[in-house]
């Protein structure tokens, strides 16, 4: 890659504006891509609130919060890297890119640890899935019970009798929660890995001084992508980790 003007553009400005618009349009496709999972999440959470509470309580809130902070820090360093590119400050760009890589990798490492915990606790959806019902959380002062077999959105459970439905419903519905947990955080993690790859790719041209005020499209583009992935996590964190946390 170079800082040259491509032959079909008339000016650096046209090139930069085209690149920026292109990245934004791509991010919109990502909104719709993740959006499907969010839709499924909203639907099933409203159908099986108890299972989602039970599932959420299996997650480590301290690790999740820490990871959120790590990602926010990486957003700052990414923004600083783009800013340095705008100003053409070669060493600063490289430094901030490396910091972002480090923070992003930390996030992924912690995520891998969390996944490992889930594996040990038999919470990976599949044949060996088993929710430990001996230590179910309480919600509104009452222990979380099995859901109705086919919940209808909005149906109140507050005064329903102790459920006589088979215990396995809670297992089944919590497995759905964990499928969404792994699906959403897994897709997010995949995007993070790609993001780290893109950052590494930027290191070489950055160190050679290829980016300056006139041409820093690639840094800006990767930055937009990185921030988008951060925003996805900003929504995933409360939706997955903070469900029914009040006893």
């Amino acid at each position: 890659m170079s800082a040259d003007l491509a032959h079909h553009f008339d000016s650096y400005e046209q090139q930069a504006k085209s690149a920026s618009l292109g990245v934004w349009v791509f991010l919109v496709t990502e909104i719709m891509f993740f959006g499907g999972l969010f839709t499924a999440y909203i639907l099933y959470r409203s159908k099986y609130p108890e299972a989602f509470i039970a599932g959420s309580h299996q997650l480590d809130i301290a690790l999740g919060t820490f990871n959120t902070a790590v990602l926010i820090c990486s957003s700052l360093t990414m923004a600083m890297a783009v800013r340095s590119a705008q100003l053409g400050k070669r060493t600063a760009i490289v430094g901030f890119l490396m910091a972002t890589i480090l923070l992003g990798s930390t996030f992924l490492g912690i995520k891998a640890t969390e996944y490992h915990h889930k594996w040990v606790e038999h919470l990976i959806p599949g044949e060996s899935f088993h929710l430990d019902e001996a230590h179910l959380p309480t919600h509104h002062g009452k222990p979380v019970l099995s859901d109705l077999p086919t919940g209808i959105v909005g149906e109140s459970r507050a005064d329903a009798p102790l459920s006589t439905a088979p215990r396995s419903d809670l297992q089944a519905h919590t497995q759905l929660y964990f499928f969404l947990y792994f699906g959403m955080t897994g897709l997010h993690a995949l995007h993070m890995i790609i993001g780290v790859g893109l950052l590494v790719w930027l290191l070489s041209p950055s160190s050679k001084g290829k980016f300056d005020a006139d041409n820093h499209n690639y840094v800006e583009g990767v930055g937009l992508y990185w921030h988008f992935v951060d925003i996805v996590w900003i929504f995933l964190f409360p939706l997955l980790y903070l469900v029914g946390r009040h006893g």
Binding site: V25, M32, F33, A40, A172
Partner: protein, 559 residues
């Protein structure tokens, strides 16, 4: 006014083609590694034609089976695979990429006065992604195909079928990215690469149509991508998201699937409508009536198209309340399409009509699309849909739109811009004859299917009660004629590339930037970058077809 260069060039004395995009470089590598949007358009032309033939073969076998009430040609299981692969190939590998990939790619930079699309390398990548997706699907086809119908409903696709669902799903998943990248490229190009003076209100309606199509591709296609991933998770790992035994809902699959697949039908028809606008203007020698209405109706179709998907699910088990909501919304989406038809018709009124082949296709489009569209309004009506859902009425409805509409538009566009793309003219006799054969063959094939569906013949069945045989035989006979109709252009178009007469810059005497450069165009599209000072479709009443002289208003070349 500046002195006019002599534009009137008798066809027999057309100059020998100079240096242009076809002969500038030679060799396989110069084609497979090209970044020229015009060459990429040709690459698309070859590949989509291949899939059209493949999908067409499926159709031949289907219609052959249906000439008799008994299932005596193929096993029922094979029949299921035939109609599934017919749908998959035609929709994802022909109809969706055809006009944008071939005509859009070739013409949009020319029409806006640019040297290329905004991202030429991504354009090439788009084609390769499409080909790779096609290869996966082709592999699945030769391995036996899929039997679920192109709609892949859970739980058949996720749990009960043993066919190559994953291979086809993967092929479609990959091809989807091609669609997204093309849409992205077009949007950025149209926003950022217009020549000086080419304002939004001067854009050809073909460009507006592709802009609207691109919006749909960008917003809709990612949803089919995630749907396929969920399908894969369910099929491979039995996670339960669509499985009622563990609390999932199979109807959720349908919501996700149709959220894309309904807007997808607008991806298939909008570019064709853009072509028709160009053809009507050129061959009535009049500017399109209500330009802004037609332009904005494309955007309206794109937006409204996202609000109606559950009309495919009226009998799937959605709530009656939701069905009513989607029924009303579906009727709304007919309005912008109707606006277009009204405006095209008004354009024809008191126009100077000439019966060139592209015009025949455009007129065919208007008639057949209207029939298909009106039956769509019928289907939006809950009371009717309850009875004709999953019957041949539906099959007829969407074939009127997709074949009578979209493919007619594609054929018209191909014939209109063929001289520009190849620098050659094709024989008028055969092009006229084949257009008429296609029109007749199409109607004989699909009109009986409206009646069959109304009488109750279900779709996706390889046997039927004996009383339906007459109409089925009629339909199959029509299909034979239709197939012949498509075969003839394949022959003379290829023939023309070697033996056709050379075309001048503007053989139709049409108005548009693409006609202001040579046929075929040079690699960089224009000798000097144009500056636009005239409105779209500035046809002057005195210019008749035979003089080949363009309007005397406005300057065409900046020199």
């Amino acid at each position: 006014m500046s002195t006019q260069t002599e534009f009137v060039i008798p066809v027999e004395e057309a100059p020998e083609p100079g240096d242009h995009y076809l002969n500038h470089t030679f060799g396989l590598a110069s084609w497979l590694l090209t970044k020229d949007h015009k060459r990429i358009a040709i690459l698309y032309l070859i590949s989509i034609s291949f899939f059209f033939v493949l999908g067409g073969l499926m159709a031949v076998l289907i219609r052959l089976e249906l000439t008799t009430p008994e299932g005596d040609l193929v096993q029922p299981d094979i029949y299921n695979r035939l109609f599934t692969m017919h749908g998959v190939l035609m929709i994802f590998f022909f109809l969706i990429p055809a006009i944008p990939g071939v005509l859009g790619n070739f013409l949009i930079p020319l029409m806006i006065g640019a040297k290329d699309l905004a991202f030429p390398k991504i354009n090439l990548l788009s084609w390769y992604i499409y080909v790779i997706g096609g290869l996966f699907t082709f592999y699945a086809l030769v391995s036996g195909g899929v039997d679920t119908g192109w709609t892949f409903y859970a739980p058949l696709s996720t749990t009960f079928t043993s066919t190559h669902v994953m291979a086809v799903a993967l092929g479609i998943f990959i091809a989807g990215f091609s669609s997204i990248l093309t849409g992205l490229n077009f949007v950025v190009t149209i926003h950022r690469m217009r020549a000086p003076g080419m304002t939004w209100s001067r854009l050809p309606l073909f460009v507006w149509a592709h802009y609207a199509t691109s919006i749909i591709q960008i917003l809709g296609t990612p949803v089919i991508a995630i749907t396929i991933l969920l399908l894969a998770a369910e099929r491979l790992f039995h996670v339960g998201i669509f499985d009622p035994k563990v609390g999932g809902d199979p109807v959720l699959f349908q919501h996700f699937f149709w959220f894309y697949s309904h807007p997808a039908v607008y991806i298939m028809i909008l570019p064709s409508m853009g072509v028709v606008s160009e053809l009507i203007a050129a061959f009535a020698r009049k500017k399109v009536f209500g330009y802004h209405f037609v332009a904005f109706s494309s955007i309206a179709i794109a937006v409204l198209g996202f609000l109606v998907w559950a009309h495919h699910m009226f009998v799937a088990g959605i709530s009656v309340y939701a069905a009513a909501v989607f029924s009303v919304l579906s009727m709304l989406v007919a309005i912008p399409s109707a606006i277009k038809v009204f405006n095209w018709t008004t354009t024809l009124y008191k126009g100077s009509i000439s019966w060139e082949t592209p015009m025949l296709y455009a007129l065919g489009f208007i008639g057949l699309f209207t029939i298909g569209g009106l039956t769509g309004v019928m289907l939006a009506t809950l009371g009717i849909d309850l009875h004709v859902h999953d019957t041949y009425f539906i099959v007829a409805h969407f074939h009127y739109i997709m074949v009578g509409g979209a493919i007619m538009g594609y054929m018209g566009g191909l014939h209109y811009w063929w001289p520009k793309i190849t620098g050659k003219l094709y024989p008028k006799f055969w092009s006229t004859v084949s257009a008429l054969i296609i029109f007749v063959g199409f109607n004989v094939t699909f009109f009986p299917q409206f009646i069959l569906g109304y009488l109750g013949m279900p779709r996706r069945y390889h046997t039927y009660p004996a009383e339906f045989q007459v109409l089925n035989v009629m339909s199959s006979a029509g299909a034979t004629v239709l197939g012949l109709g498509y075969l003839i252009p394949a022959i003379y178009l290829i023939w023309s590339m070697r033996y056709g007469k050379d075309a001048s810059d503007n053989p139709w005497g049409a108005v548009g930037l693409e006609w202001e450069t040579s046929s075929p165009p040079p690699v960089e599209n224009f000798e000097t970058p144009p500056v636009v000072t005239w409105e779209a479709y500035e046809y002057h009443e005195s210019t008749a077809m035979h003089s080949l002289a363009p309007s005397s208003r406005g300057s065409y070349r900046v020199g």
